[in-house]
């Protein structure tokens, strides 16, 4: 083929591709500057139905595509609830059992073929009732029912009776077009927190019926954004022009000059969210690729990988970015709203409960020796760049109930003490049981395991008796936990709301596997205190109960705990924002403003 003909053919192909692109991209106005915020997530959601939004990936999208009754204030720390779709905080009856919530009138779902004439209708109280009912419909295979299970009057019975949506649930009603009433079986002070989550997002019945299974990838909500495209590598969200106009009020969102002044968010006062025209969410699983995407300017915000912290930070105490980083990016280093811990499976007679009381005592001694042998300082240094906060028990530092003065002996390494404990209870290298350390296969998890094995080696635990139980995926690992097959369980718990109840329930007897109590811990005193505290409003009395429960867990050596990681968040100076990775939520994205205009064609 001659050179001239080649050029013509290439030109035709190029033109065809250009036309193809032009056909598939929705570009309202090719010349209009578009503010695009580019967000990176380390995994991709597979289902955008709110009843399936059990992970941070789905939750980020769901809370931007749909509305929830409440959210957390954008800037306030500690976290404070604020109305979102609701007009105010709930009215709670004196006995704490009835919640009445008014919702805003004039909120509309996005236009969609699911609606009559394709025009989104007004969101009403009945939509919320329908959305919560879906969690109790066996057909939906919903993952959020645990938030309200045995809590709302008649809801569990409604499921047992066949989940007929026409049937009314006495504890979950729309009193009128704009008023919701929730009646509880017992006080549940955490209820408003549950209504911030993607699980509680409001969906229209028409869309669920219209799309059927496809509803998982065809979100129809009333949130600040609507979905433009979605694949395994990227989701594109565009501004919902019908989103209600609520100007940004820094003071109402918890603005404090000393905490937030450096971000410039105050200058956005009066702007109407969503502040970006578009959000491009890149799903980049590989840490190095994510970091490179950030450094090369392909994404605006990142949680810096631990391995990069040496290149990012000049000083750890106080935390300070290197000049070349500080020049280009903003830095924020919040503690995570959660913690990392390794639980013993108490159902495993080799390490947990044993029917022989003498062996039971020996097993407890073995667990306590392992706890003593664990070196949190080395763990923090090797895997968390010495930035994490180690604390005793399961009440993390971000919760209001955290006790900074609690005895730290359970997180202080004591090799000699551990050896003495083993010797005292007749444990020798020959009769020590084989430990099976479970994890979802990844480099970081394997390194955690190897370090654990090295720690145990220091107290004479034979390395060949400490086995890796690697699962191909987190799903497999999680399934094994539910089936009580894992002996040593290392997990990171991301709190659902800022209340220590959310970590205490991890050890509540009736929540044992397949529930959230993967340790299968059963303790009469702990369970009694949990039941007592679970109906109490926040108060010094309730805090005292939480702290007693915490001590029970420490004394029983049921877990090697705990450590809250410091997240090193970086974002480009083109973005005016205050990022937040807490509580399975993406509400902050509506407040992100991008100074540089980016054209959609980029």
């Amino acid at each position: 083929m001659s050179g001239g003909r080649t050029i013509i053919v290439i030109g035709i192909i190029g033109l065809a591709l250009g036309l193809q692109t032009g056909c598939t991209d929705r570009q309202p106005d090719d010349t209009a500057p578009v503010k695009i915020y580019r967000h990176a997530l380390d995994g991709a959601p597979t289902n955008l139905d709110p009843v399936q939004s059990a992970n941070i990936y789905a939750s980020f999208l769901v809370t931007n595509l749909y509305d929830t009754l409440y959210r957390y204030k954008y800037l306030a720390r500690p976290y404070e609830l604020t109305p979102n779709l609701a007009t105010g905080m709930p009215e709670v009856s004196a006995d704490g059992l009835t919640y009445t919530i008014a919702i805003k009138p004039g909120v509309y779902f996005i236009d969609d073929p699911a609606f009559e004439n394709g025009r989104g209708r007004e969101l009403v109280a009945a939509d919320f009732v329908y959305s919560i009912k879906r969690h109790f419909d066996p057909q939906t295979l919903a993952q959020g029912a645990w938030l309200w299970q045995n809590r709302i009057q008649g809801l569990d019975q409604w499921r047992a009776d066949g989940a007929d949506y026409a049937a009314e649930v006495s504890g979950l009603r729309a009193l009128d077009k704009y008023t919701i009433q929730i009646r509880l079986t017992r006080p549940y002070p955490q209820l408003p927190h549950t209504l911030t989550q993607g699980f509680a997002a409001v969906v229209p019945k028409e869309a669920v019926d219209h799309y059927g299974r496809e509803f998982a990838i065809r979100p129809v909500g009333s949130g600040p954004y609507r979905l433009l495209s979605f694949s395994g590598v990227k989701a594109v969200l565009e501004r919902n022009d019908r989103f209600r106009r609520e100007p940004f009020d820094p003071a109402a969102e918890g603005y404090r000059e000393d905490q937030h002044g450096f971000t410039g968010v105050r200058q956005l006062a009066g702007s109407v969210p969503p502040l970006s025209d578009r959000i491009d969410v890149h799903f980049i699983q590989e840490e190095a690729a994510r970091w490179n995407a950030f450094i090369s300017g392909e994404v605006d915000h990142i949680r810096a990988p631990t391995t990069q912290l040496g290149a990012v930070l000049e000083s750890r105490s106080p935390i300070r970015a290197r000049p070349e980083i500080a020049e280009k990016y903003h830095l924020l280093t919040p503690l995570e709203t959660g913690f990392v811990h390794t639980d013993f499976n108490m159902d495993d007679p080799r390490i947990g409960y044993h029917q022989d009381p003498a062996q039971n005592t020996r097993n407890k001694a073995l667990r306590c020796a392992i706890v003593k042998a664990f070196d949190w300082t080395a763990r923090n240094r090797a895997l968390y760049f010495d930035l994490a906060q180690v604390f005793p028990g399961v009440i993390p530092p971000v919760t209001p109930e955290f006790d900074a003065d609690l005895d730290r002996s359970s997180v202080s390494r004591d090799v000699e003490g551990a050896k003495a404990l083993l010797q005292q209870h007749g444990w020798t290298p020959d009769n020590l049981p084989e430990l099976e350390y479970g994890f979802a296969a990844s480099v970081a998890e394997r390194q955690s395991f190897e370090q654990f094995r090295a720690f145990m080696g220091d107290i004479g635990y034979p390395p060949e008796k400490i086995k890796a139980l690697a699962y191909a995926s987190f799903g497999d690992f999680n399934r094994a936990l539910k089936q009580r097959k894992v002996m040593l369980i290392t997990t990171a718990w991301y709190m659902d709301f800022p209340d220590a109840e959310n970590t205490m329930q991890l050890f509540y007897g009736p929540n044992e596997a397949p529930g959230s109590n993967s340790a299968n811990f059963r303790n009469e005193e702990f369970d009694r205190l949990y039941e007592q505290s679970s109906v109490m409003q926040a108060s010094p009395e309730r805090t005292a109960i939480y702290q007693r429960m915490n001590q029970v867990l420490i004394d029983e050596c049921v877990s090697i705990t705990g450590l809250s990681r410091t997240f090193v968040l970086l974002w480009t100076k083109n973005a005016t924002m205050y990022p937040d990775l807490s509580f399975l939520s993406g509400h902050f994205a509506r407040f992100v403003d991008i100074a540089t205009d980016r054209h959609e064609a980029e």
Partner: protein
């Protein structure tokens, strides 16, 4: 009476009065590249043997050093993120490589030999078609997809990788053996065995299969090195070694380290792997040349 296997080979093709194994030995001794490869393999085997016997490499899991220490007297090739000695880990990985290589090479060669011989002897009959169909099915599945499926089916078993490799690596050996058996079964010594009424299984396994030893030997070395390479790739992907250490795991660890300028893990594991694979390739090539009656001498 049938002749011994070695005589059978002599019948199959002789050029001089020397036996085929002796000629192969002579050719191999003249192939200096092959001898260098053999030396490398023996050196690695010696290292693996020392690890098996507990002479060295035993502290591969201890985290006694500081994070990312440079190479020095205490840690010859530095330390990794956890403070583990990289040299100790690389040395222990030799044992991992040989364990996997040996298990996979022996079992897949055995399966390939048996199924190939049976298929070849009964070529054109249903049993041959069955083996060919099975081979076709297994060859059609992408290897790494197959390993992932096996790993999933065995729920993270430490042997998922072995099973996947053995299940797929026998097919080439089986195909080569089948072809050779089809050729051999028409030879005089087989006709003689049939004539005196020996049963078919005895003919296949006592008289025909030993005459494919040269194929099996070469195939075993090729499978051995393929298994080691596959193990490294699978371990890198998280589908391989589940407990212990291997070069693949070390390279996987290094993906986080190279970004911050720490190359010891990556270079050490890669070099250990490269040298062994190179040694095995040189040796298996030399072996192939030596056992090939059509080959005239050493490589240029």
């Amino acid at each position: 009476m049938t002749r011994p296997a070695s005589d059978s080979i002599a019948v199959a093709g002789t050029h001089s009065g020397k036996g085929p194994w002796m000629r192969a030995g002579q050719k191999l001794r003249r192939d200096y590249y092959g001898l260098a490869g053999l030396l490398i393999v023996l050196l690695y085997f010696f290292i693996a043997l020392g690890v098996w016997l507990g002479f060295w490499g035993q502290d591969w899991s201890a985290a006694g050093g500081g994070q990312w220490e440079s190479a020095g007297r205490e840690h010859w090739l530095g330390t990794n993120r956890l403070g583990q000695d990289i040299f100790q880990r690389a040395v222990f990985s030799v044992r991992t490589a040989f364990e996997i290589g040996l298990v996979v090479a022996v079992l897949s060669t055995l399966i390939g030999a048996v199924l190939g011989a049976v298929a070849g002897y009964f070529s054109g009959r249903w049993i041959d078609e069955l083996v060919l169909w099975l081979k076709g099915v297994l060859d059609a599945i992408p290897f790494y997809l197959f390993v992932a499926a096996i790993a999933f089916a065995f729920k993270g078993s430490a042997y998922a990788m072995h099973i996947a490799m053995i299940s797929t690596f026998w097919t080439t050996t089986g195909r080569l053996v089948r072809g050779e058996v089809i050729k051999l079964k028409h030879q005089e010594f087989v006709e003689a065995a049939k004539a005196i009424g020996l049963d078919e299984m005895r003919i296949i396994f006592r008289h025909i299969l030993p005459n494919t030893t040269h194929i099996l030997l070469v195939q075993a070395t090729i499978v051995f090195v393929s298994a080691i390479k596959s193990e490294v790739i699978l371990s890198f992907l998280g589908l391989g070694v589940q407990d212990g250490v291997s070069w693949g795991l070390m390279i996987a660890e290094s993906t986080q380290e190279v970004l911050v300028g720490q190359f010891y893990n990556f270079i050490t594991a890669s070099l250990f792997l490269f040298i062994l694979v190179m040694g095995f390739n040189l040796f298996s090539d030399a072996l192939q040349d030596a056992l090939d009656p059509r080959s005239t001498g050493s490589r240029p």
